[in-house]
Symmetry: C2
Subunit: 165 residues, 2 copies
Amino acid sequence: MTAIRPFEEADWPAVWAVLEPVFRAGDTYPYSPDLSEAEARRLWIDQPEATFVALDAAGRVLGTFYLKPNQPGLGDHVCNCGYVTAAEARGRGVARAMCADSQAIARARGYRAMQFNFVVASNEGAVALWRKLGFEIVGTVPEVFRHPRLGFVDAHVMHKKLAAD
Amino acid sequence: MTAIRPFEEADWPAVWAVLEPVFRAGDTYPYSPDLSEAEARRLWIDQPEATFVALDAAGRVLGTFYLKPNQPGLGDHVCNCGYVTAAEARGRGVARAMCADSQAIARARGYRAMQFNFVVASNEGAVALWRKLGFEIVGTVPEVFRHPRLGFVDAHVMHKKLAAD
C-alpha cells in the first residue's frame, strides 16, 4: 500500500475480481450471491457519486470503495460508503486506509456525517474497525441478514459525525 | 374510509395530489421539496414492489402507500413501506388502516419483518402511531434530516417482526 485514487474505466476487471468473491460468499453484503457482473457494476460504479481504488506499489487493486449520499434531498448531507478489500490483501490496513481516506473525501465534499446502514453483526472485524475509526453503533436491527451459515443475523446502523460544528 | 386496493394507472393524478403537498412541505420525507412529478412517480410507483391507495366511499384517494424489500438479495425478507395521508383526511385513521393493511399484505407476500429507515423524530404523530401498531425504535441517527424550520433533526429506525417463528 498504497495510493488511493478515483476509479477509472480500465480498473473495472480488477475491481470486479476484488468484489466478486466477496459478493459470492454472501456473508457481509446483502447483495444476492448470484448477482451478475453488470448488476455489480451498476451498484458499485454507476449508482454511487464516486468510486475509488486502493493500489499497491505495482498498481494492483487491493481494495475499492464507493461514496454516495445516504438519502436524497433533505438527508443528502450524510454520506454512505461501502468498502471491499481483496482477499489476498487482508490484514494489511487496506480497509483502515480506505475508510480514513473516504472520510477526508466526504469532508471535502461537504458531507457532515457518514452512516453505514447494514453492518452485519457477525462481521466482527468490520464492526471493531469502524468503532476504532470513530463510528458508533446507533442502532441494531434484528435478524435482517440471511447469513449462509449462521442463518438470520442482526445488522448495525453505524454513524460518525464529520463536521466540526 | 375505506377500501384499500392496489394502485391503478388512472389513480396517478389523485395520488400525486396527495403526495405533492407532503413532499413540498419537506418536514417528513427526505425527498427534495422541489422534486418533479416524474421523479415522485418513479419513487412511489415504479421502484417499489407494489403501491396501494386508500379510498373513501365515493372513491376519492385519502392516502397511499408503497411496499418494497428494504434490501436486495440476502436482506429481502424484510420489507419497507412509506405512507402518505391526504391533508384533508388526517385524524380519520387512514394511516392506521394503511399500516395495518400493509402488514397483512407483507405477511401474505412472505416478509418476516417490516422496517422504517427514516422516521423523522419531530414527526411525533407518526412515531407514536407506529409504536402503537407494534413497531419498536431500534436506532436513532443524529441530525440526519434537514427540517425546514427545526434545522437538523434525528431520524429513527423502526422495526416490527411479522413472522410468528
